[in-house]
């Protein structure tokens, strides 16, 4: 919806688009029309919305298996995302990846990575290439706080710092790694302090406030483009749903969930904009309507998608030629 919305309105609309899209995914999962693992981003939308709003088409983005929102806000068509989850040829990964592996080379959206921490070194390499080829691009890499315990996080931050690689490390600290709380996965729970130990500028931001997310990301991206090297931001957020559709969510205190839901990024943003008179009730309603329409179109489109015939199973194992970016 590249219409005449203000930046703030756009941020709100984007969060709503992700929310509606994912609520629908949950339903479709219940109907077994989406299979495999499905990880919902509900509650964390402000992070992807705020960060994406600061990136340009030449920048690169990497995310985890909890990436529907990132893909959608990066510009990957909702229909091709839904088609991917339906396992259709028209999916953004041809139906070979599914929910955890959304890709879009043209938009420099590099997944959709399901080895926790595995994409961090890859992000450093992408940034190294931009640097070496004098492309004024930033690589935004999203990962959870649980990933910070992996050795690959450690190696990636050190390499990025040593090489002044233009990477924005976006830590989505939602306090849990599956059923493991931050306290039991990190000896140092201030993740910005941890990242700073690599001589990388690092700070914490309220990940439930999309305007804060955008403001701090803008600062970071500007600095990185100016040659500051890598920057790390800890976005403090929370997932309202269980880890995945298989998770009975036995490890979180219902009150804790309630407290965080009161800080729903969409409500927070809407309230703020309404008070500032920056958006009207009807404009907000309109956002929900459009989002629902977009999602339903996506579902309809996905259903049209053909299923890859078994005969083409062995395609895409070895490449015949180069892809656009390499």
């Amino acid at each position: 919806m590249s219409d005449n919305l203000t930046v703030e309105q756009r941020l709100l609309a984007d969060m709503i688009r992700v929310r509606v899209f994912e609520e629908r995914c949950a339903e479709l999962y219940g109907e077994s029309r989406i299979r495999g693992f499905l990880h919902l981003y509900i509650g964390e939308e402000a992070v992807a919305a705020g960060v994406m709003s600061c990136l340009g088409p030449d920048d690169a983005v990497l995310a985890t298996y909890r990436e529907h929102g990132h893909a959608l806000l990066r510009g990957v068509p909702a229909g091709s995302i839904m088609a991917e989850m339906f396992g259709r040829v028209t999916g953004c990964s041809g139906g070979r990846g599914g929910s955890m592996h959304l890709f879009d080379a043209e938009r420099r959206f590099y997944g959709g990575n399901a080895i926790v921490g595995g994409h961090l070194p890859v992000a450093v390499g992408l940034a190294l290439a931009d640097q070496a080829l004098d492309r004024d691009a930033v690589t935004a890499c999203f990962f959870g706080e649980g990933a910070m315990a992996e050795g690959e996080f450690h190696e990636a931050l050190n390499l990025a710092a040593l090489w002044d690689a233009p990477v924005l490390f976006c830590c989505e600290n939602n306090l849990y790694a599956m059923g493991t709380s931050l306290e039991s996965s990190q000896s140092q729970v201030n993740l910005a302090v941890k990242a700073a130990s690599y001589s990388v500028p690092a700070w914490q931001v309220d990940g439930m406030n999309v305007l804060d997310v955008r403001r701090s990301t803008e600062r970071a991206v500007t600095a990185i483009r100016a040659g500051a090297g890598p920057i790390f931001i800890e976005f403090q957020t929370y997932r309202f749903r269980a880890h995945s559709m298989f998770d009975p969510d036995l490890y979180r205190d219902p009150d804790e969930i309630k407290t965080w839901k009161a800080r729903d990024p969409i409500l927070v943003c809407e309230r703020h904009l309404r008070e500032a008179g920056a958006v009207s009730e009807q404009e907000v309603a309109e956002m929900w309507t459009r989002a629902r329409a977009e999602t339903e179109e996506a579902v309809a489109e996905a259903e049209q998608g053909a299923l890859e015939p078994e005969s083409s199973l062995l395609e895409h194992v070895l490449a015949e030629k180069e892809t656009m970016w390499s």
Partner: protein, 354 residues
């Protein structure tokens, strides 16, 4: 994920009771593979203070496949210990704990992730005894799931157990029945060496008869799960129920198949396989992993070396397609051997194909 919520693999039919013609006479009870494994872990924790369970989300979450569910409340968080996401770190720590006198049962969520810990397993756990001239054995048990079938795509679905079977210094087993899930663990814990246990994710909901009094079983022998005389069909882990189902269908085509559950991937019990082959004269290995360089190649090579002169045909191998497992259901199904494929290959092998 908690398997109570998973979609059952429609190809794996519960045939465990066939392993127990004497089931009726004993006080065996029907249990899921998952519960059998949990019983084994519980018994180990209760019986030996040195035993600890180590892994990602083994406590509150109950283990990614709910195998260790509830054990942390029963034995405490110190003995059923959640680790951060650090496969190499907690496997290495498990090795150290074993050297220090504990008996760690380490859970790695899936074999794909175990690659992050492979350095510790191959370069340390498997070599320490030798490098130290026999001074330091490493009594750890590493459990991990393997296999596809739940549309988890290319980073969660592979079958790399054959790699572990390549490594001297390790023992590698793959229980295919609830009974083995229940009784292989105590033997593995008693073993002074590192033992790797592969649990096929598709088996957790399979029910089978478990004899609560059976006691520890060996980790070295293959077992004939179904007798037959025209073809020896070798399978392990998730392929065993499929092989048994295929044998059933083949019987209706008048093809008599002997199904052997490998059970132990290292060492390989070639004797049992060869004994069968010498009366069937034909053998076929079915494996879920990639064909090239898979364990099936080793089995075929060894059987050919042992039984060359009694072979009526080369050993057939039916294996997974050489592709990273795709998400789409029909593609995933096509990527791994199904009952129909086994039947077809078997019929061609015995020359019964129409």
């Amino acid at each position: 994920m908690v398997m109570t919520a998973t979609t059952p693999d429609h190809d794996t039919i519960d045939r465990q009771h066939e392993d127990h013609t004497d089931g009726a006479d004993t006080d065996e009870t029907l249990k899921t593979y998952r519960d059998a494994m949990r019983d084994a872990i519980r018994e180990a924790l209760a019986g030996d203070d040195r035993v600890i369970v180590l892994g990602e989300d083994v406590a509150d979450y109950g283990g990614t496949y709910a195998v260790t569910k509830g054990l942390h409340t029963e034995f405490g968080r110190h003995r059923v210990r959640n680790t951060p996401l650090s496969e190499s770190g907690f496997v290495g720590a498990g090795i150290g704990a074993a050297l220090g006198g504990l008996r760690p049962i380490i859970e790695i969520m899936t074999v794909n992730f175990s690659l992050l810990a492979l350095d510790q397993i191959v370069n340390t756990a498997a070599t320490l005894l030798h490098m130290s001239g026999g001074q330091l054995n490493v009594p750890i048990v590493i459990r991990m799931t393997t296999g596809a079938g739940r549309q988890l795509a290319a980073q969660h679905s592979h079958s790399l157990e054959g790699w572990y079977a390549h490594v001297p210094g390790l023992k590698v087993v793959a229980p295919a029945t609830a009974e083995d899930a229940r009784w292989m663990l105590p033997t593995a814990l008693d073993d002074p060496n590192p033992v790797v246990i592969f649990e096929h994710a598709g088996l957790y909901n399979e029910r089978g008869l478990v004899d609560p009094k059976r006691g520890p079983v060996d980790l070295e022998r293959a077992v004939v799960r179904r007798a037959g005389d025209e073809l020896t069909l070798v399978a392990w882990a998730g392929m065993v129920p499929k092989a048994l189902a295929a044998a059933e269908q083949l019987a209706t085509h008048d093809v008599s198949v002997e199904v052997i559950d490998l059970r132990s991937l290292r060492p390989l019990d070639i004797e049992t396989l060869a004994t069968s082959l010498t009366h069937t004269h034909r053998a076929m290995v079915v494996e879920e992993g990639w064909r090239t360089g898979g364990l099936g190649a080793e089995i075929a090579a060894q059987l050919t070396e042992h039984c060359f002169w009694s072979l009526d045909a080369p050993i057939a191998r039916l294996a997974g397609a050489e592709v990273p497992i795709p998400y789409a259901k029909q593609l995933e199904r096509a990527a791994i051997p199904q009952i129909g494929d086994i039947v077809e290959t078997a019929r061609t092998l015995v020359g019964a194909a129409s």
